[in-house]
Amino acid sequence: MKYNSVFDIIGPVMIGPSSSHTAGAARIGKAARNLLGKQPSWAKIYLYESFAKTYKGHGTDFALAGGLLGFETDDPRMSKALDIAKENQLEIEFIEDSSAVDHPNTARLIIGDKEESIELIGISIGGGKVEITELNGFELRLSGNHPAILIMHNDRFGAIASVTKILAKHEINIGHMEVNRKDVGKEALMVIEVDQNVEDGVLEELQSADHIIQISKLVS
């Protein structure tokens, strides 16, 4: 089921004017920031369909900026987020894209700093709820209902086992897991939804496991 909590329906508490175009956009921005693991210094944001047509009126632009700055949906600074981003040396470019997409409220974000960048696609499915459907070219379905660990790794035997072994050692239960690769032997992505938040120490241990390239964490 897409929605599993009454607070997806009655909530979130948010700064107006639109749950999908403002609150949802802020959550997509925040997810991108979390996946990068730090505040980006630049962002290129592509907007599609309803997002592209109405983003100025709905404040989708400042909400995405607010999310990238780490704001919650009810942060009173939300409507000033574009100015605050500038003050914090975060440069954001918005591009209206007319390509066809599956969902009317779709945004593609490429964000990064001097060292690294990530690319993701987020959709705002209504009432402030969002899904991340693509990360660095890998398809995924991340609801954000649970904390998740995303692990970029080399497609080699034993890579998955080394990760699950570490999680088992720390008594972390896996709720949902997806493995996706671009081609045999190339880069792959593991998405692991867990029941509780994962400590940074565990992430460091995972980072040093065999065949692991990059790790990011998403807090629900």
């Binding site: 329906i9 508490v13 107006g16 309803s50 009126g57 009317p104 499915i125």
Partner: protein, 291 residues
Amino acid sequence: MFRTVKELVEMAEKENIQISEVMIRQEMDVKEKTRSEVFSEMERNLEVMEKAIEDALQGVQSVTGLTGGDAVLIQKYMQEKTPLSGNLLLDAVSKAMGTNEVNAAMGTICATPTAGSAGCVPGTLFAVKNQLNPTREQMIRYLFTSGAFGFVVANNAFISGAAGGCQAEVGSAGAMASAAIVEMAGGTPQQSAEAFAMTLKNMLGLVCDPVAGLVEVPCVKRNAAGSSLAIVSADMALAGVTSRIPCDEVIGAMYRIGKQMPSSLRETGEGGLADTPTGRLLKEKIFGMSM
């Protein structure tokens, strides 16, 4: 977990509990939380709704100047004249519009189920309250009952204008409110379902056509329509009127209609009222560009 209104009503009837109680128990189960945790989380939402209405009745104005002040006008009219539609109904209308005026002014609101439709549930609650004199707990339960019905719609159809038109937003919100009114007024779970069905039926086909793409025109006044219809349907259900088409089938119809709606009528600001001479002129004035 319930997936349909039929299952929701059956669960309530089987255990002889209210719809709100089914929702509370499911939430505790899914999120592994205590009753008091779930209650206090909902109470915070109630407080936000109450505050938004208070602000609205002081008078608010959006940045564009398109909306604001109507909630105050209606309250004034109620004090000075005898409203034809009755004080309770008009009070709900004023508070529903007011909540959306606060939303349009980028104030803090609670999405129910969305921001554009955030007026129906609190607007009716804080109007009906004056006649039914509920306890604080009953007011919180009102939100759980609304949420239970919204939960079914969100999982089986949609709740956003971009996905299914305004019928999915204000249609769902008004229907959720009517189900909650019935429970607060002492009706049965089945009567809540009947009220929900009757409100949503009368919202079918409603398009999402915001002028200049802003959640202002016609959103604020659509919340007036959703909240008044919610009260009328609740009264009809409490009187024993039933919907000939079962609730879940009405939700299914809403879903199929939304699927058939062109994107120009789903929150792109390209069709309907947005595409009238005045709608286009307003957009040009606000953004300095033509459509």
